[in-house]
Symmetry: D2
């Protein structure tokens, strides 16, 4: 059998379980803010995460679990949550709950099964509004992993300042701090993010913090004709580039002949940016998908904004794999791989109540363009996904019917290749904002209007 | 940066580490069989596995770690293993070792780093030769996971008798025992298997053990033109099939019209069969690769033999996802998903000393054919891989030059589509044995010879 | 601008022209069979062909031109045909008409344009029913050309016996008779065939008529990984095969090593079989499309039936490029290229009045299977077309809904690669008749029925 | 059998024929310029074209035919040309020769065959150097046809001023002048152009000459996911756009809602630009290939230069299918189709004596970029061709080794999609000149140099 959609298998069959919470600590009438917990239910060895929100509504403890209504009771440390077809019983110890869920069998509705669960309390937002948070990583992940414990909780509007290793695990001093293969920092838990929401990542700054990068003199297989493959025999070795942080120029070390004095301006970008994928299985940091990942898109630069579809509670943001510069397609398998100082601001667009606003893939917005990323096993499939994503965006934000979007794409679509170097190929479907009508509610006419 | 080869990052940079084992328990001169351990070195949070073999050669404790020569000393419980550029110091407690490895920095040879390690002793082969082992699973994995503890150790020649759940986690009684998504049994540790070897799996029997299967009335997106997609709107629902174990026929439940009396013979197959992938990241049981995985190949049937390239010590065999029958391509997204009684025999083909005999992808041999499986993001890429694999096989086992293989493919190649339903598409490049020359050393001429 | 559908540009804009035929030679009341002409209208240098049928219905000369109703008058040699928006005036000289058509401008309806036209009379069917016709070709075509004059007229049911050159233009004596590149014999005008109809070609016999064939020791680029390309450097030379017509075995000349005594049974097939493509441009005999063409399908063998969608009046059947044998994919660029004696029978399935029964691509039926051929620029696109074609066939002839077809494909689809060697890749979507329900009206139950 | 390379079949087998010209009209010692003829040899119904050059070298009449050395004699009107393995005998009548060629059989060297031939004299270059030629077309071609008689002879350096119809055959007055489907003007015979040379086309001006264009509200199948196909049901109708030649803006007629006041700047381009393809078969003006054709590349604009690989004597330049503007991919199947005033200058780069400088595909140079066009049946294949073409260009003109080119592509490659609308998909591999080293011999350093 083949699996298409990572996601909750339980949810497919109608979804489990209201929770009863007995005897909430919340004093009735105190009108405290709702409590929020991330509940990890053990489904035969696989943790499934959902957010539990419990609210004291005039003495009725009600709430939601994974968006579905539940009722709750609390007696001392005992908590019972009742869902439409199940029940969670647990014991609260500080910011943790441990207990057992009683849920119907997915296939045989008459049979019930017991599953262990744990929960972790989501802390309340610190007073004082959006913060700037400096974070010095001490561990890195080689997977986009839904199970990895968050290193930090951020709230919408917060700005994160941190630094990334290069793809080989080297830091700004050239020392190995993590395993080769795009080690990422994170995950950062974005409070309030739920599956279906859109995580907005505004990249404020990407700054070189060392004087060299590593690349290769290679052409990836996906870009090679049989004839070119024969002529390219013998290439594929590492090439170190010098980065001049004063002039902003990069040069291959030991360049000879036509490259004796070669230099080209840097344009730092993040190769890796992801939310945790849905489902139970971590994904290699060399891979990509609708969760983002190792997109290797040379438009993930300072000044641009990346939108990712949240797939797990808290989104679980990962980032890494900075490049001092990279051409379209990352045809040399490695960009100019280097460590970076990073500054970015996170925000959330909540899903419509019906889930209608959910985005299907990574989107990138620059001052002048909107771009949808198709990532698939071939360019021919990637271009379909990218076009679909851009058409949805044009409809959602610019009020265009599909027939109208088709007309504008006909005169103004842009398509660039994002990557040829990974398991997925990537294509960006793009359109200049000057070729789009004014957004509904946006007063300023674009430059191409009459 | 994009990663191509799962594998040891250390090995890329010249390889790590001799081990010093101080004071081996092995009494000098006792000529005991070598001790074998699986060493898990913690590379910044990622376990890397290699086999340690320590032999008492006339009082010299020598051996290999991951195939590289080491020397060892042992004093009481203290073990020291010295490798060409590193050292492992550990404490033995029964069948476990815990300790610390001192290894050079991958990037800065002058810097050294300390990594924790553990080791697990591989038990010696039970006396009496090849066994038939009955195994009743009690847990299932939703990933092809190199880190999951083996459920059993098998030796080359052993036969395993067990049973698999269907892809939804249902057992032969219709009860859910594992999480939806091709849950697998295993891993089975195949003693002696090392990366580069070939795991040989002879499928002795695949027997239906219940009276129904689940499928869908769907055509997967990869098989649909835009026009067919429009006409297919509204399809995609689950269809239960009855399996008549007496007649060996399958029929869709509630078939009407042209399908009112429809029945078709079953042909049980295993959709999932894998060794653990290389590298540190588990792979979803919905995915496939050169390690095998969710191949969904309708030639993985009783009487045929599957060859998989070992990528971790012990191979770590997984299996699951039985189908009562499946067409080429698994175009309905689900075959006739059902639970199965399975009997298979494992064997090993050791790599050449130079690693030359390693296979690159799953191979399948039937009484009449040899078949190489290309699995990639598109059919156009899969066919390249499959052809490459078949040409290598023809060269290795039938003594054909590449130009000769090209001639035979021109007159006798067969290509079938394996799957259209997964992230990877699959193509089998096949050739009848009757169209191949006699294998060197094989006395009997094939039927098509003069 | 990009063109998708070869076809009449005029027809797209509503279609031109009733014809008035003034003063038909046909005596009123004589109740003669209708006259049939192929009218070639000169559209700015491009001939467009439509069939004119004129019937004497109780003194009213009525008929159709390209299927649309017209009225006609005839006075001596002068013929006037009036169509809904145009008029053809011509002079009859024996079996030819020459004249001028007055038709509206395609874009500006108010403007009219004059176009020359000619017509050729389709002879009446010879008495005595279906014939066996022996045809010795004296010229060959290197294009599937809608403008080439027919070499012979056949009627449904007629059997043609002829011989084909090999793809290099060599005849059964080894002499060059035509230009390299799959020279074809034909076209054969199939009386009664109109665009939308299905031409049925039953292949009765394909017989070797010489003792050698030419092939190559090559692997086509579409089947090569970059690594295989490097290893294959130096291959790609011509290999002559001996054909033993007594034993039916083929052997590479001068085979050494593993191929020293190699022989394999022949299985003669026609690589080229086509109707003339729609539109005005000939298509190279190296190319393929929905009209058939250089399909290189190893199931176009004696005993099987090929169905092609008629696109020009008279279908204009071409054939050539025999292979003594060929593997799937024609991976060596050439099969075993040879000349052949050919015997085939033609038949017609007329389109539904609404055009509903038209097939979209070549179909092949063997005693045991039905097969639809997807031919496109990639395997990934070809498989979509092939699936669409097979689903249509299952619906049309076996009474299956799309959801039912989806279920049967899920359990019984077969997919093989037809060709990897041309501009188009080809895939056959196939299903055994034993896996299909009984055809409506067909009394005999298939073997797999209960 | 499958054909890969259109080209001379004779040339493959060693090449034919020196010509003997007996009794040349050229008086010995007169030192006249060489005579040049285009010789069309009838190869079983297919004309093959080669240039015959006859020079009076001190009384020896020598020359070349298709680049191979010949000797000639001329007696009165009788001309005999002797080639290494054949002989042409003809009669000169003014600017035409008619005769018979005696050539060896391609397959049986011992057998000889007689082929008719004709020749047409290439006029000498008019005095006065490069000209500006105004040309008003009166006929159009719906094929890129090697057999169509040239409408005009141009010499390197000449500038052509003419006008093109739109793809539907409409002229600047809205009247239909040619058959729908990208009718082209031409062919223009470029004196001196031989297969292997590069035709250089500098586009001086593309000017709108009417006030409307036609497009569609469609998304082509190649850009559609199955889901988008379902949502797009009902689109695909023609949309007329108004072109304001004063402001240079285009607007869809009757735009409502978000498109009520929409306008976008025009950017006129030529969709069709081609040399005649090699081989004997015309190619539809809807198709493309290494000869150019219906490339639909939105960088074929005024100020840019297109390079095409010459494949027939005289190159036989065709052009047509102007668009007022088009997005990447021509996703709406039609750009803004309109008629255009065109001004372009032709030039030639002669092949190296060894043929080494021949380009493999269309190349485009803008003031800031070089671009190679891959055109193939899939994007995945097109990107391979495009990369190969760009790497060759970088090596040939910028002195870069393959390993160096690989490094520069890694940091600076650009890839855009050219077309998704045709049988071929197109991809442009591009690189900014500022990212390239100085060309050998070019004094000015690029902006990115140190």
């Amino acid at each position: 059998m083949s699996i298409r959609f990572p996601g909750s298998p339980i949810a497919r069959n109608g979804g489990p379980a209201l929770l009863l919470l007995c005897g909430l600590v919340l004093a009735p009438g105190a009108q405290a803010a709702p409590e929020r917990w991330v509940v990890a239910t053990d489904l035969w060895g696989n943790a499934e995460y959902r957010t539990l929100v419990i609210d004291d509504r005039d003495g009725n403890f009600e709430g939601t679990l994974g968006g579905e209504p539940v009722t709750a009771r609390r007696t001392g440390r005992r908590l019972t949550v009742t869902t439409p077809d199940g029940r969670y019983d647990g014991t609260i110890r500080g910011d943790r709950i441990t207990g057992t869920a009683d849920l119907p069998d997915i296939n045989l509705a008459s049979v019930r099964a017991r599953h262990g669960f744990t929960a972790r309390r989501i802390p309340p937002r610190p007073a004082g509004g959006a913060r700037v948070v400096d974070f010095t990583p001490t561990s890195w992940s080689n997977a986009f992993d839904p199970h990895r414990a968050p290193v930090l909780t951020l709230w919408p509007g917060d700005t994160l300042r941190t630094e990334t290793l290069d793809s080989g695990g080297m830091d700004s001093h050239g020392q190995t701090r993590a395993l080769f293969g795009n080690p990422q920092i994170g995950p950062f838990f974005i409070a309030g993010a739920e599956p279906g929401d859109t995580l907005v990542i505004r990249i404020g700054r990407l700054r070189l913090n060392r004087d060299f990068a590593d690349s290769r003199d290679e052409i990836v297989g996906r870009a090679m004709t049989p004839g070119l493959a024969v002529r390219a025999a013998g290439t594929g070795t590492r090439v170190r580039w010098r980065l001049d942080r004063d002039t902003g120029l990069a040069s291959p070390e030991g360049g000879t002949g036509a490259l004796a004095d070669y230099a080209i301006p840097v344009r730092p970008m993040l190769g890796g940016l992801a939310v945790a994928p849905g489902g139970a299985t971590p994904v290699s940091t060399g891979d990509s998908g609708r969760f983002g990942g190792n997109m290797d898109f040379n438009e993930v630069i300072a000044g641009n904004t990346v939108l990712l579809p949240v797939q797990q509670p808290g989104a679980l943001l990962y980032l890494g794999d900075g490049h001092a510069r990279q051409g379209d397609g990352e045809t040399s398998q490695w960009g100019l791989e280097t460590s970076l100082d990073v500054e970015l601001t996170v925000d959330l667009v909540k899903a419509d109540p019906g889930g209608g606003g959910a985005i299907q893939m990574p989107l990138v917005e620059s001052p002048g363009e909107i771009m949808a990323l198709g990532q698939a096993g071939s360019l021919d499939e990637a271009v379909r996904l990218a076009t679909d994503g851009l058409v949805r965006w044009m409809g959602r934000d610019y009020g265009l019917t599909l027939a109208q979007s088709a007309q504008l794409l006909g005169v103004a679509a842009r398509y660039s290749i994002v990557t040829l170097a990974g398991r997925n190929a990537g294509i960006a479907a793009r359109i200049d904002k000057s070729a789009l009508p004014r957004k509904p509610g946006d007063p300023a006419p674009g430059p191409a209007r009459r």
